[in-house]
C-alpha cells in the first residue's frame, strides 16, 4: 500500500513540503456535455444529441504550513508559479491499486482565504485552487496500437486454410436460451443459419460452436464471413465474439480473440469478413465458439419471426490482413483503450517505399461490412487492365462507363465524399460524372437517381487521389434489401483511367488525403516520405496537423499540409475504430499513439 499523490506540475500537494490539499469540499468536477436539442417529429418531447464534452472544473482547498510567515510566502510563490498556465494535475489513489489519473489543466486560478487566527496560532494559510481542465482524465502513459496490416511472412504469406465453408452443418452445434421450437414450429435446421432468436425487444445471447480439432500452424488470424439475417435483426456489438478452446481448456473457459479487422467479404457477397488475431500460445484448436447477443427492434419484429440470427459462411485460418485488391489498400480495427474519446497520432509507414498518395479514413464501424474501396463491387465497364502497381490491382479506361453494385446493407446512411484514384491520359481536364441509384429486384426505385459532376484536372500520366462527387447514399432507404448502383463515366474532353473509387462516409468517419505521389517513390528526406503522421488537435496544439518524413522517429519530419487535400480531424473513440489506408507501399504499417482517456479515474491500461 502506498500513499496518495496529488501533484500539480512540480508541486506535491499531499507531500511533506508544506502543502496539504484538503479533501473536505474538493471536487474533480465532471465533463460538461454539449447537448443539442432537436425538435421531434410530430411527437411530444424532443431529441437531444450529445455533440461532445466541454471542460471540467476541478476545485481544491490547499493548506500551506510553514515555520514562519516568510516560509508561507515562499510556499505561496512556488504554488502560484504553477497556476494560470497549461499544466497537469496527477492523482494517485491512496490504496496503491489504481493507476495515476492525469488531468490536463488548461488554466487555473488561486484565491486566498484570510484566517488570521490560523495564521497566528498555527502558521497556516489556506487557498482555494480552481483548475479548468480538459473534459476527461487520462492515463499517465501513452498507448501504442499497431494495426493488423502486415502479411506474415511478407509479402507472400502462406495461403489461407479453410476450416469450414459454411455449407455443411457438420461439426456445428448451437446453444440458445430459447426453446428449439416455438408455437409448435421448429427453429431453422439450416446449418447456414444456425438457429436464431424470435422475440422482439428482448436481448438474447446465442452461442454457436464449431467442434473440430485442427492445427493453427503459422497462420496468425482467424477469419469468419458472417451476416445478420432476418428483418430488424441487430446485434449488441459490431461483430460476434470468438473464443478458441484447445485440449487444455476444452471444458472450461477458453481464449477470447481480439478483433483486428472487419470489412465486406471479398468472396461471399453481403457477408462481413471479420479477422481475429490468434495468440501465439495457441497451436491446436478443438472448438471455435461464436457468441452473439442479438435483438430485434422494429414495427414488424413479430414474435414468430424465428429465422433471425447469424449466418456463417466461411471460417479460415490466414496470415493475410484484410486488404482490397492489393496489399496497398488495408482495412483494420484499431483498439482504442480507455473509456472516453481521445486524441492521437496515426502513423502510416513503410521501411523501403515512399507512400505516394495516401488516403487514411477512420470510422465508427457498425459491423455491416462497410469499407470505402469499390473495385471488388465492379460489375461492368470497358477495358480493364490488370496492373500490379495500381492500388486496386487493375484500372479501367473511362472510355466506357464503369458500374459498381453493392448491397445497401453495406452502405451506412450518410453523406459520402467520393474519391477516386485517377489518371489524366491526355489533354488538360475532364468531367467525371457519377450516377447513383438504388434497386430492388433489379428495378430502379422511383426517385432514387442522383447525379454528381466534378471537373478533374492534373498532369498527364500521373495518378492522383481526387474527389469526384458528394451525395447522400444510399439514395433511397431500402433497408438491407436494396442494391446501390454507381455508374462512373467521363464527360470529357480528356481521356481518363480509373484505378479505384472510395466511398467515404463523412457522417460517421473522417478522411485525410495527402497527395504526396508527385514527390516520387524513393523515400527521400525532405521530399518523398515513407512515414506520414496524422495528428489530432489537442488543447496544446488545437489544430490537426500532418507531418511526413523518412525516419520513423520523426527526426526528419516536416509539415506536409501543403499537399494535404483533405484534413478532417480523426476521432478515436473506445473500444475501437476502423481504419482504411490506401497508399503506394505494399503492407505499410499503421500505428495509433495516444493517451487512454477516462471519465475521472484511469483504469489499468492493460485491462482496458
Amino acid at each position: 500500500m502506498s500513499a496518495a499523490q496529488l501533484i500539480l506540475g512540480s508541486v506535491d500537494l499531499l507531500g511533506m513540503d508544506g502543502y496539504e490539499a484538503l479533501g473536505d469540499d474538493g471536487s474533480w468536477g465532471s465533463p460538461q456535455p454539449i447537448d443539442v436539442t432537436l425538435q421531434s417529429l410530430l411527437q411530444d418531447g424532443s431529441v437531444v444529441v450529445t455533440q461532445g464534452y466541454d471542460n471540467r472544473e476541478v476545485s481544491l482547498r490547499v493548506r500551506l504550513t510553514g515555520s514562519d510567515s516568510a516560509e508561507l510566502a515562499s510556499l505561496e510563490s512556488t504554488l502560484f508559479a504553477e497556476v494560470g498556465k497549461r499544466n497537469t494535475l496527477t492523482y494517485v489513489p491512496p490504496d496503491g491499486w489504481g493507476p495515476a489519473s492525469v488531468f490536463e489543466v488548461v488554466t487555473s486560478r488561486l484565491e486566498h482565504t484570510l484566517d488570521d487566527v490560523a495564521e497566528v496560532m498555527s502558521c497556516e494559510r489556506t487557498y482555494g485552487l480552481t483548475l479548468v481542465c480538459e473534459p476527461f482524465a487520462r492515463s499517465a502513459d501513452q498507448f501504442t496500437v499497431v494495426g493488423a496490416t502486415v502479411s506474415d511472412p511478407a509479402p507472400t504469406p502462406p495461403p489461407p486454410t479453410t476450416i469450414t465453408d459454411g455449407v455443411s452443418g457438420t461439426n456445428w452445434t448451437v446453444h440458445t436460451a430459447k426453446p428449439t421450437t416455438y408455437g409448435g414450429v421448429a427453429f431453422s435446421t439450416n446449418p447456414i443459419l444456425q438457429l436464431g432468436y424470435n422475440k422482439r425487444d428482448v436481448k438474447t445471447t446465442h452461442v454457436y460452436e464449431y467442434t473440430a480439432t485442427f492445427s493453427v500452424g503459422q497462420q496468425k488470424y482467424l477469419a469468419i464471413d458472417w451476416d445478420m439475417r432476418g428483418e430488424y435483426a441487430s446485434m449488441s456489438d459490431i461483430s460476434p465474439a470468438v473464443m478458441l478452446n484447445n485440449a487444455a481448456n476444452s471444458t472450461t473457459g477458453g481464449t477470447s480473440l481480439l478483433r483486428v479487422g472487419q470489412m465486406a467479404s471479398p468472396t461471399n457477397p453481403g457477408y462481413t469478413r471479420t479477422l481475429w488475431a490468434i495468440p501465439s500460445s495457441i497451436a491446436t484448436v478443438t472448438r471455435i465458439r461464436i457468441t452473439s447477443t442479438m435483438q430485434a427492434y422494429g414495427p414488424d419484429a413479430t414474435w414468430n419471426s424465428y429465422e433471425r440470427g447469424i449466418a456463417v459462411r466461411l471460417i479460415q485460418l490466414t496470415s493475410q490482413p484484410l486488404s482490397s485488391g492489393t496489399a496497398r489498400q488495408k482495412t483494420m480495427t484499431i483498439t482504442v483503450p480507455g473509456s472516453a474519446p481521445t486524441v492521437g497520432s496515426l502513423q502510416v509507414s513503410h521501411s523501403t517505399t515512399a507512400l505516394g498518395d495516401l488516403l487514411a479514413y477512420s470510422w465508427a464501424d457498425s459491423g455491416c461490412g462497410y469499407t470505402p474501396p469499390m473495385r471488388g463491387f465492379r460489375v461492368s465497364g470497358g477495358t480493364l487492365t490488370v496492373d500490379s502497381s495500381a492500388y486496386s490491382g487493375a484500372y479501367d479506361s473511362l472510355g466506357a462507363p464503369v458500374t459498381y453494385e453493392r448491397s445497401t446493407q453495406q452502405v451506412p446512411m450518410g453523406l459520402y465524399v467520393i474519391y477516386a484514384r485517377l489518371r489524366l491520359d491526355n489533354g488538360a481536364s475532364a468531367t467525371v460524372q457519377i450516377d447513383a441509384s438504388t434497386l430492388i429486384g433489379g428495378n430502379q426505385l422511383p426517385g432514387s437517381a442522383v447525379t454528381s459532376k466534378q471537373l478533374i484536372s492534373g498532369t498527364i500520366g500521373a495518378w492522383k487521389i481526387v474527389p469526384i462527387g458528394r451525395m447522400m447514399l444510399p439514395t433511397v432507404d431500402a433497408g438491407s434489401n436494396g442494391t446501390l448502383r454507381l455508374v462512373v463515366s467521363n464527360g470529357g474532353p480528356s481521356a481518363l483511367s480509373l484505378d479505384e473509387i472510395y466511398l467515404c462516409n463523412a457522417t460517421i468517419g473522417r478522411a485525410t488525403v495527402v497527395n504526396a505521389g508527385t514527390l516520387g517513390t524513393t523515400p527521400t528526406p525532405g521530399a518523398a516520405p515513407s512515414t506520414i503522421w496524422i495528428n489530432s488537435p489537442t488543447t496544446d496544439s488545437p489544430r490537426p496537423s500532418v507531418t511526413a518524413g523518412v525516419a520513423t522517429d520523426g527526426s526528419d519530419a516536416y509539415n506536409i499540409e501543403s499537399l494535404v487535400s483533405s484534413s478532417q480531424p480523426h476521432r478515436w473513440e473506445p473500444p475501437s475504430v476502423s481504419v482504411f489506408t490506401a497508399c503506394n507501399a505494399l503492407d505499410a504499417t499503421t500505428t495509433l499513439t495516444g493517451y487512454p482517456r477516462w471519465h475521472t479515474h484511469a483504469a489499468d491500461d492493460q485491462a482496458a
Partner: protein
C-alpha cells in the same frame, strides 16, 4: 459526429494560421456561392501572407470544395473575416465592379460567351464549360455594362438564372421542377406576400422593322383570375431595335420566373431530422443548396390544390456544426430592415 467542414485561404489551411469559429456559408439562387464568414483568434494587427483582400477561399468537405470565393479585407482588430462568392466578381458592389462586359480587345460587348471568356482571360477565376449564350443580348455596344448585368439580362430573357458554384463553373439553368428535399409536416410554415406580384407584364421596346416604340402586353390569365389584375412595367429599349416576338418572349420569361406567383414573407429554419432526400435519407445540411427545390409537406398549395408546397430555395445559410439550416425561398420578399436595405442597395447599384 459529422466531420467538420474545413477552410483553405490563399492555399493555407485556415486552422494552421489560427483558431477560428462561427464559420457560416451562404449560397443564393441566382448567384451560387454568395458569402462565407468566420471569426479568428489572432492578435490585433496580425499579418499573414494569406490573409489579405482577394485571397482565394475554399470551404471543403474532405477534399471536395463546397464553397469558393475571395476574401475581402479582414478586420484586423476583431478578426471578423468575410469572403465573397465568385459570382459577385461580375456584379456591382461597394468596392466597384470587378469585371466589365468586354471582348478580347477591350471593347464593350453584349455577347455573353465573349464577355465571359475575355473576363476569364483577364483573371476572372471562372470556368465556362458550356455556352452561356453566343447571341448578342443588345444591339448597341455604345455603353459599358458589368458582366453581371449582361448575364442577368440573358437569364431573364431565357427564364433562367445564373450562378457560379464551388467548382468555378458559370452555369445558366432553369429552376428545378422536382424536389431534391422533403420537409416533414409541421416543421415550417410560409406566409404569402403580394408586394412583387403582377399578373401582366407591360413591355416597351423599339421595333426593329420601323424603329418605332411599341408596347407588348402579356398576361397570366390564371393568376389574373385568382389574384387580380396588376401590371408591371418593363423597359426593353436598352436592347435596341428588336422584334415583337423577342419582346413578347422576354415578357413571358419574366412571368415564368415567378412574377405572377405570390411571394413569401419568411424563410424557414429546419434541422436534419426534418429534411430528407426523396428516398427518405435524413439530409446532411451542407448538401442542401440554393437552387434546389424543397417540398414542404403539410402546406396546402392553393394554386395546384395539393397538400404540399414546392418551393425553390433562394438562399441557404448554414453555420458549420449547427443542427439547423436557414432556407429562404426564391420569391422571398423583404420584411426585415436588413433585407429591405440590401434590396434597395442592389437595385440602386444596377441603376
Amino acid at each position: 459526429m459529422r466531420a467538420p467542414l474545413m477552410v483553405k485561404v490563399g492555399g493555407y489551411w485556415l486552422h494552421q494560421i489560427g483558431s477560428y469559429s462561427d464559420l457560416t456559408i451562404t449560397d443564393r439562387w441566382p448567384g451560387g456561392n454568395f458569402e462565407a464568414s468566420w471569426t479568428m483568434e489572432l492578435p490585433v494587427g496580425y499579418t499573414h501572407p494569406a490573409l489579405h483582400n482577394d485571397a482565394p477561399v475554399q470551404v471543403l468537405d474532405g477534399a471536395f470544395g463546397v464553397w469558393t470565393g475571395r476574401l475581402t479585407e479582414p478586420n484586423r482588430s476583431t478578426w471578423e473575416c468575410v469572403a465573397a462568392g465568385l459570382s459577385r466578381q461580375a456584379s456591382s458592389g461597394s468596392s466597384g465592379i470587378a469585371y466589365m462586359a468586354l471582348d478580347g480587345s477591350g471593347n464593350s460587348t453584349n455577347v455573353p460567351d465573349t464577355a465571359i471568356d475575355a473576363a476569364i482571360a483577364r483573371g476572372l477565376p471562372w470556368v465556362r464549360r458550356a455556352s452561356f449564350s453566343s447571341t448578342a443580348y443588345a444591339a448597341s455596344t455604345d455603353s459599358l455594362s458589368s458582366l453581371g448585368d449582361l448575364l442577368d439580362g440573358v437569364a431573364d430573357e431565357q427564364g433562367k438564372r445564373w450562378a457560379v458554384w464551388a467548382d468555378g463553373a458559370v452555369i445558366l439553368a432553369a429552376d428545378p421542377t422536382t424536389p431534391s428535399w422533403h420537409l416533414t409536416p409541421g416543421a415550417a410554415d410560409l406566409g404569402y406576400a403580394d408586394d412583387e406580384y403582377a399578373s401582366t407584364i407591360v413591355g416597351r421596346y423599339l421595333r426593329s422593322s420601323d424603329l418605332t416604340y411599341q408596347t407588348v402586353i402579356v398576361t397570366d390569365a390564371d393568376a389574373e383570375a385568382n389574384r387580380g389584375h396588376r401590371e408591371y412595367p418593363v423597359d426593353l429599349t436598352p436592347l435596341g431595335p428588336t422584334t415583337s416576338t423577342r419582346a413578347t418572349s422576354i415578357a413571358n420569361s419574366i412571368l415564368a420566373k415567378g412574377k405572377s406567383r405570390l411571394g413569401w414573407t419568411n424563410g424557414i429554419e429546419a434541422g436534419s431530422w426534418d429534411i430528407t432526400t426523396p428516398g427518405g435519407i435524413p439530409a446532411d445540411l451542407t448538401l442542401i443548396n440554393a437552387g434546389d427545390m424543397i417540398r414542404l409537406h403539410g402546406i396546402w398549395d392553393e394554386r395546384l390544390s395539393v397538400p404540399y408546397l414546392d418551393v425553390v430555395i433562394g438562399e441557404r445559410q448554414y453555420q458549420v456544426g449547427e443542427q439547423t439550416v436557414q432556407l429562404t425561398p426564391v420569391d422571398y420578399q423583404a420584411r426585415t430592415l436588413a433585407s429591405v436595405v440590401e434590396d434597395a442597395l442592389a437595385k440602386a447599384a444596377k441603376r
